[in-house]
Symmetry: C2
Subunit: 331 residues, 2 copies
C-alpha cells in the first residue's frame, strides 16, 4: 500500500517534472520536441519562410502544408482506427444482415479477426466500407461517427482515439497556424469519417480535410433535399492519388508535406519537386515502449521506399524515440 502510494507520488512528480520540462522555455513553439537536428530543421524552415524580410520568405497564400493522418497525426496500430470503426459497424448491423454469417469478409470479421478479414486488400476493404459506410444520409452518417468517436476506446490503451494523437504534431500544427500556414489533412481515411472530429482535435476545419470517399447522390425526399451515401467507392486517396487529390482540392502545390508511410511518398515527391523553399518530413515509428515500433515489414503503415528516398534526398525523418519528449497528450 505504502509502495503504491509512493509509486503514485513518484509518477505524479515525474509528470510534473515532465510538464515543467515541456513548458520550460517560454516562446518555444515545439516544447515536446527534443532540441536537436529534427526540431532545428522544422523551426529553421518555418522561420525562414514566414519571417518578413527573410530572403527565403514565402507569401502566406502559398504556405500550404499537407498532413497524412494515420500514423502521422494519430496512432494506427494495431489497426487503422477506421477499420475498428467498420468492425463495430458490422457488429451493429449484423442482426439486420443475417446473411453475413456465411459471407466473407463479414464472417471472419464477426469471428473477431479484423486483420484476416481485411487481408483480401482493396476488394475486401471496399466490400466492408460500402456495407458499413453507405445506405444512409450524410447527416445520419455524421451522427454515427460522432457517437462512435466519443465513446470507442483503444483496446490496449483504453484511451479515446482522439486522445491517441501525437502531442508533438499538435504543437507543430499550432505553430504552422500561428505562422499563417494553411494546413490540410490528406489521408487515405474516409473524409466523412474524419471531418466530425478533426476540427476540434487538430484545429483544421472540414473544408481542409481531403480523404477517401464514396459516391453520394442528391435526392428530394418528400420535398426535403438529402445527400444519400451510395455503396460505391469514389476515391481511394492513397499513394499516387494523393497528389491528384491535392491538385483537385487545393489547386496549389504544398510547400511542406508530412507523412509516415509509403502511401505518402507521392505526396512528398510532388511537394519537393516544386520551385523555391520546400520541406518534407516522415514520422518513423521507432518507439516500441511508448508507442509501436514498425516500418519495412508492417502490414499497417508500411515504410520502406519512402524511408529510402527520404534518406537519399535528405528529407527530415523523425526518430520518434529520440525526437519526442512526449508521444500522446498528458491525460
Amino acid at each position: 500500500m505504502f509502495w503504491t502510494k509512493a509509486g503514485r507520488l513518484l509518477l505524479l512528480l515525474l509528470v510534473l517534472a515532465l510538464a515543467g520540462r515541456v513548458q520550460a522555455r517560454p516562446g518555444d513553439p515545439l516544447p515536446s520536441w527534443v532540441d536537436g537536428p529534427t526540431k532545428r530543421a522544422i523551426i529553421g524552415f518555418v522561420e525562414a519562410v514566414s519571417t518578413p524580410g527573410s530572403p527565403r520568405f514565402v507569401p502566406p497564400a502559398e504556405r500550404i502544408a499537407t498532413f497524412d493522418n494515420d500514423g502521422t497525426l494519430w496512432a494506427e496500430q494495431h489497426f487503422y482506427v477506421q477499420g475498428l470503426f467498420a468492425v463495430d459497424r458490422v457488429r451493429e448491423l449484423a442482426p439486420a444482415n443475417p446473411q453475413w454469417g456465411e459471407q466473407e469478409p463479414f464472417a471472419t470479421l464477426l469471428g473477431g479477426d479484423a486483420k484476416a478479414a481485411l487481408a483480401g486488400g482493396e476488394a475486401a476493404i471496399s466490400t466492408i466500407v460500402t456495407a458499413t459506410h453507405a445506405g444512409l444520409t450524410t447527416e445520419a452518417f455524421d451522427q454515427v461517427v460522432r457517437t462512435w468517436i466519443s465513446t470507442a476506446r483503444h483496446p490496449q490503451t483504453g484511451r479515446l482515439y482522439t486522445e491517441m494523437v501525437y502531442q508533438p504534431m499538435l504543437e507543430l500544427l499550432a505553430y504552422l497556424h500561428q505562422r499563417a500556414f494553411t494546413t490540410f489533412v490528406v489521408s487515405g481515411g474516409g473524409v466523412d469519417f474524419m471531418r466530425p472530429w478533426v476540427e476540434r482535435t487538430y484545429g483544421i476545419p472540414p473544408e481542409r480535410v481531403i480523404g477517401s470517399s464514396i459516391q453520394t447522390r442528391f435526392e428530394l425526399r418528400d420535398g426535403q433535399p438529402v445527400l444519400v451515401r451510395l455503396p460505391q467507392m469514389k476515391v481511394l486517396n492513397d499513394g499516387a492519388v494523393k497528389p491528384v487529390s491535392i491538385q483537385h482540392h487545393i489547386g496549389r502545390r504544398p510547400i511542406a508535406a508530412f507523412g509516415n508511410s509509403d502511401g505518402d511518398l507521392a505526396m512528398l515527391q510532388w511537394t519537393m519537386a516544386g520551385p523555391g523553399e520546400r520541406f518534407a518530413l516522415l514520422v518513423h515509428h521507432t518507439d516500441g515502449e511508448r508507442e509501436w515500433a514498425y516500418d519495412r515489414s508492417s502490414g499497417v503503415g508500411r515504410l520502406e521506399r519512402a524511408l529510402d528516398e527520404a534518406r537519399a534526398r535528405g528529407w527530415t525523418v523523425v526518430d520518434m524515440r529520440r525526437d519526442w519528449l512526449v508521444v500522446f497528450p498528458l491525460p
Copy 2:
C-alpha cells in the same frame, strides 16, 4: 470636333458623378446596389449573422457562402467564356490535328459556329473539352489559361473577360470576406480554367474553387513528378452534382448561396434546407441595355424552375436593371 470634346467632357462628368454617387455614403458596403428591398435583404442577413450578440449570430467557421460563377459573378453571354476559350484552343491545335476538318463537332466549330457545334450537349462538350483541355501537365495548362485570360477579349465589348465581372457582386464578396464569411466558387466551369485568375479577380484562393474537372494522373517523367491531364471527364459540376461537390470539398452546408440559373437550383435548395439562418439569392438578367436580358428560353444560363421556386419560397431575386447602379467595373 467641339462636339466630340464636349461629348467626352460630358462622359467624364457622368463618370465622376456616378463615381461620386457610388462612393457617396461612407461605410456603405454595397455602393453599387440601389437602396431597396434587395440590398436591405442582403445587409440584413449579413449583419444579423455576423454581429456578436445578435440573436441570429452564426460562428465564423459556419459562415460558408457558395457562388456560382457564369452569370452570377461574370457575364456568360452570348456564350460561356470557357466555350470561347475552347474554340480558340481548337483553332490553335487544328494544324496539328488535320483530321478535325472532317470530324464533328470540330468541323462546325472551326467553321465559326460555336453554338451549333456545342448543340450536341454533354457529348459534344465532353469531346471538345477533353481534346482541348487534356494531354498536357497541370502546370502547362495553367500557363495556357493565364496567357489566354490576359489577352482574349469579349467579341462585343472588347473587354478582357476578367473585366466583365459584376461590380455589385465584387462588393458583395468583399463585404462577406470582411464579415468573416468563407466564400467558395461552385461552378459548372472547369476548376483548372478558373483557378489561374479567380484569386486576383474575386479574392478567392484556389483551394476555395470547386468546378468541373477531368481525370489527372501522377507520373514520374525522368524522375520528375508531374500531373498529366487525361482525356476523360471526372466531374461535370452542375445541377444536382453541386450539393454533392459541396459536401465532398467543404463538408459543411453553406448558410448562403448565390446563383443565376436552373443549374444552381439544387445548391440553393441544399443551402436553404439546413437549420438556422439561411440566405439564397438569384441574379436575374433583366438588363438588355447594360448587359443581356434572358431567362426562361435562354440556351445559356436558362432560368426557369429556379425562378419559380425562388418566388414560391421568397428567396431574394436580383432584378439587375433595377437593383444595380453599375454592372461592370468602371474602366
